[in-house]
């Protein structure tokens, strides 16, 4: 097992390094001049000579006159920067946000904290609903309940999340006034402790409902399909023939086996807590990773965009390893040693 983990980790490092170069090169191939974008708003208030000096200085500071390989090596921390220091990705420096004018590592924590909190709520709520619903739907296959769940889950699965968001806002925020339309806290409030927590929960309730509603369909159908397979197995028939109680048959025999294919999806969901929802976070004006990602692209804040994407690359690579390992842990038939 250890050998397998080390081998996979080595692959991950190589793939990650390759991807850093590819992605860095891609962003640098964009035919845009970041120095010009940075100083252009000053043109109207400056004389040509001073504008040119500031433009050239900005190009110099951004290292735009150096070849791409030099810039990449500096960005990674393989070679020293202009100040003679090794200060790149390898040293924990994820770059500099041209929009926020501060290091990327100082920009990401707050949105990341929010996105993780939001997604934990959504994941727990969604699992709490979909697993029992999927089980009941499978146990009562072709019943009215099953058909209703099937239809509702397909509908929920098919409607774009922005439509769900706008409809929910109209119903729950505008008509019923149960929740606020947007924001993460009551404007101007300075709550602390429990009051701050309840205020936060009140503000994220509607986005949580939207994200949960949109994720119900797929998981319910996964659980239902896995349960139907499990319930058709011989050992279930044997258990029933032995006179084991139906609840025990369903939850102890069938569900534990049905969980095997579902568990990897659940782990995937938990890994997904780092990934923000671009649409929902933007619709509700939430300062999360999804909105930050799209903003970094819109603002042409490429070092920030690159850092966010590389973070997700790392999460995906290690997440895949985790999923593979979890297979071996939950299913004794799978042996991970190669």
């Amino acid at each position: 097992m250890l050998k397998y983990i080390l081998k996979r980790t080595a692959y991950i490092v190589v793939i990650f390094l390759l991807l850093t170069f590819l992605m860095y090169a891609l962003y640098n191939l964009i035919p845009a001049d970041p120095a010009r974008a940075e100083v252009e708003p000053l043109r109207g208030s400056m004389k040509p000579d001073e504008f040119e000096r500031i433009y050239q200085q900005t190009r110099y500071e951004m290292g735009l006159d150096d070849p791409i390989l030099v810039r990449y090596a500096r960005w990674m921390g393989f070679i020293a920067n202009r100040q003679g220091k090794y200060n790149g990705l390898l040293q924990g420096n994820m770059g500099y946000s041209s929009f926020f004018k501060k290091p990327v590592v100082d920009v990401i924590p707050e949105p990341m904290k929010f996105t993780v909190s939001l997604n934990i709520f959504v994941t727990l709520l969604a699992l709490g609903i979909t697993i029992p619903l999927g089980i009941q739907s499978a146990v009562k296959k072709d019943s009215l309940l099953d058909r209703t769940v099937q239809v509702v889950s397909v509908v929920g699965y098919s409607i774009p999340i922005q439509i769900v968001g706008l409809v929910f806002i109209f119903i729950f925020a505008v008509l019923l006034r149960w929740f606020p339309v947007m924001g993460m806290k009551t404007p101007g409030s300075n709550y602390t402790g429990w009051k701050a927590f309840t205020d936060f929960v009140y503000h994220i309730s509607l986005p949580v409902l939207v994200l949960t509603f949109s994720s119900l369909g797929s998981m319910t159908r996964y659980v239902r399909a896995a349960m139907i397979d499990a319930l058709s197995m011989d050992y279930i028939r044997t258990a029933r023939a032995k006179g084991v109680r139906e609840k025990v048959v369903i939850y102890s025999h069938a569900f534990r086996n049905a969980l095997l294919p579902v568990i990897t999806i659940i782990i995937g969901w938990f890994l997904g807590v780092f990934g923000g929802s671009i649409i929902t976070e933007s619709t509700f004006s939430l300062n999360g990773m999804g909105r930050l990602s799209i903003q970094s692209l819109n603002n042409k804040d490429y070092e920030l965009a690159l850092a966010i994407q590389l973070f997700y690359v790392a999460v995906a690579l290690f997440g895949r390893l985790l999923i593979d390992l979890s297979y071996g842990l939950v299913d004794p038939r799978v042996r991970i040693n190669k």
Partner: protein, 671 residues
């Protein structure tokens, strides 16, 4: 008599009571919906970031400038701050402003403000250490001794100049050598800072409440020279801390204290982003900024003396939140936000007016100080010919375009001006007489094309139908990709105009319908070919920036759809320069080389003294007239903006020259 006196006294008392009642109470709050993200960088004078909401917050917390902009966008002496602003032109052509400030000014923490706080900002942000840290300050350019100050008193060695007939190899070697000299010099300046700070001879502290600044001769005369006397106070304690001060021993002002990058960097980082206890001097204090929720809260600064008119704010609290376009009206209706500024276009404005009709909301509207436009490249292809530009103008029904695009909430201009500008207001009649409005007239367009020589077909025969061609000289032909060379060597230029447009742009979409696919345009013998591209690419083509790829260096697109906004300082100098270096640096993106137009843009600001607004206005009218004749851009629309707010807010009057940060100081809340 006694009765009469008593009656008069009673009347006066009543008037007094009424007066007291008329003064709005201080209190209430307003939630401002911001369209752009707050970055949390509160650095003085937008040294690092430049986004709109950051700027607005900076203006709300910093307002003790010696010079202010009034409601009409004109610069006025801030009487709340200055006792006097006097100027004198010196024998050497420099100009000196002597500014005496009031002695009762204090920062929001109650600490006194003196003259040194007004020049501290220039001294700090033009210091070589700060310039090396990314400061975009350019104050050192304008004030005598600034260059020396920027280099901490060292003299930059002369760089090698290009000799005649220099080869590419020699050029590369020379540039490399110059680069080395510059880098060595930069290192020497950095090292010298450890030994002490230079003095700035053009910035002087005369006494505790008087300071003097001297402008370098080459920037005098300048119509807006009063802007050079514009200084705001900066807390030395907050930015630099203990052990730092600003002094003047008679040779110029300087900073006392360790200004090396190692010492300064953490101080500056802290001062840029600190919220709690931020020392400023404006109508509001920044009370809190929630980085997670992106909310800023501002409250009235009790130590604020008033703006240039002595006006103090009455709205106790301003909360600034980020809103999204898709849900902003729902948020407004349900009270999550209370004011959205700068709505435009039929859809948004109609939604706002619907809310007003429902009750609980009010609006103000104002004209944009700028316009959407088609920008022409005037040095190659068909758009190099004035008549072609005129013909295009006659082939677009611009009033209809403006009405359709703005949903009826817009206006049309015929030159580079905004309807709110004082120059326009004072010259409206004159401009109405002089300016060509280019009405929709396909027949006139054909006449203009024929007059320009577009009278041939692709074989060089007389034009009958289809695309028009013109016989051009080698100079006119340039490298235009669509030129046709006949067997006899004659070069024909077709009336094909390449158009660079950005994706998902409603202006482009409407231009396709109303111009590109206009049957009258096709019948006139013109063709417009649209290329949709990312905005960065559009800029590369516009600037002909070959550093981004060789292809951009070759002119290709004759028209671009863009927009222009004007600053209160209407300075168009160098916009039509012929200097190749400035043109290459993006100072004449129309590539229109007209001596008269260039001269007017320069004379308008550098040929008129600041006390001669009439002289400025006359040159401005001449400039607009000449511009209208040459038509480097085709103005398409000038929006009418709406600001909607909860009707508890009273006395709120906004304009394109008088934004939220200024207007809110005059408003109050009635719950």
């Amino acid at each position: 008599m006694k009765k009469l006196v008593a009656l008069l006294m009673a009347g006066l008392m009543l008037l007094n009571v009424v007066g007291v009642m008329a003064e709005p109470a201080v209190g209430g709050e307003i939630i401002y919906a911001s369209g752009t993200e707050i970055s949390g960088d509160w650095a003085h004078g937008a040294i690092w970031t430049n986004n709109a909401t950051d700027n607005m917050i900076r203006s709300l917390i910093n307002d003790y400038g010696t010079i202010s902009y009034n409601q009409g966008g004109a610069m006025v002496q801030n009487a709340s701050v200055t006792e006097s602003v006097e100027s004198v032109v010196n024998e050497d052509g420099t100009k000196t402003f002597t500014i005496k400030i009031h002695e009762d000014l204090v920062f929001n923490d109650g600490s006194p403000i003196s003259a040194k706080h007004f020049i501290a900002s220039s001294l700090l942000f033009s210091h070589p250490t700060l310039l090396g840290m990314g400061s975009k300050s350019s104050a050192y350019v304008y004030y005598v001794g600034g260059e020396a100050y920027k280099n901490n008193g060292l003299v930059m060695p002369e760089l090698a100049k290009a000799p005649e007939g220099e080869t590419e190899e020699q050029k590369a070697a020379r540039e490399e050598a110059n680069k080395k000299i510059e880098e060595d010099f930069k290192a020497a300046v950095t090292a010298s800072v450890a030994e002490g700070n230079a003095k700035w001879s053009g910035l002087r502290l005369l006494d505790e409440y008087t300071f003097q600044v001297t402008i370098v001769a080459k920037y005098i005369p300048y119509y807006y020279d009063i802007s050079y006397a514009s200084f705001g106070p900066m807390s030395i304690d907050m930015w630099l801390g203990e052990g730092y001060d600003v002094k003047d021993d008679g040779e110029g002002a300087y900073i006392v204290g360790d200004m090396t990058a190692e010492t300064l960097a953490p101080k500056i980082e802290h001062a840029r982003f600190v919220t709690e206890g931020r020392i400023t001097a404006g109508p509001y204090n920044l009370v809190s900024y929630d980085v997670g929720a992106k909310q800023a809260v501002l409250e009235i600064n009790p130590n604020y003396k008033g703006n240039f008119e002595g006006q103090k704010p009455h709205v106790q609290k301003i909360i600034i939140v980020k809103a999204e376009k898709a849900t902003q009206f729902d948020a407004l209706e349900t009270g999550s936000i209370e004011l959205i500024s700068g709505l435009t276009g039929g859809e948004e404005v109609n939604k706002a007016l619907d809310l007003v009709a429902k009750g609980g909301f009010a609006t103000v509207d104002f004209e944009r100080n700028g316009y959407g436009k088609i920008q022409f490249a005037c040095d190659f292809g068909p758009t190099q010919f004035k008549n072609v530009r005129h013909a295009l103008a006659h082939l677009l029904d611009r009033p209809e375009f403006a009405t359709t695009f703005t949903g009826g909430y817009g206006a049309l201009v015929h030159g580079p001006y905004g309807l709110a500008m004082w120059m326009y207001k004072d010259s409206e009649e004159e401009l109405n007489e002089k300016l060509n409005t280019y009405p929709y007239d396909p027949a006139k367009a054909v006449e203009l094309l024929e007059e320009a020589g577009f009278v041939l077909d692709a074989e060089g025969n007389d034009y009958v139908e289809g695309l028009r061609y013109k016989k051009v000289t080698a100079e006119e032909a340039g490298k235009y990709e669509h030129n046709v060379t006949l067997a006899d060597g004659t070069v024909l230029m077709p009336a094909i105009i390449e158009w660079s447009a950005t994706p998902d742009n409603p202006v482009s979409e409407l231009l396709v319908t109303m111009l590109q696919k206009n049957p009258d345009l096709v019948a006139a013998g013109l063709e417009i070919r649209q290329s949709v591209m990312d905005f960065s690419q559009l800029l590369n083509w516009l600037y002909r920036d070959s550093s981004q790829g060789d292809q951009y260096g070759v002119p290709k697109y004759g028209m671009f759809n863009l927009a222009s906004n004007f600053y209160p300082i209407y300075d168009r100098s160098f916009s039509f320069t012929s200097d190749p270096e400035k043109v290459a640096a993006g100072w004449n993106t129309n590539f229109l080389f007209d001596e008269q137009l260039d001269k007017l843009t320069m004379d308008m600001v550098y040929g008129v003294e600041s006390d001669n607004p009439e002289g400025y206005r006359k040159l401005w009218v001449d400039y607009i007239d000449r511009w209208n004749e040459l038509l480097p851009d085709l103005p398409l629309y000038s929006n009418v903006y709406y600001t909607i707010f909860a009707d508890k807010l009273k006395g709120y009057e906004e304009s394109s020259l008088w934004g939220f940060d200024s207007a809110i100081v005059y408003a109050w809340v009635e719950e």
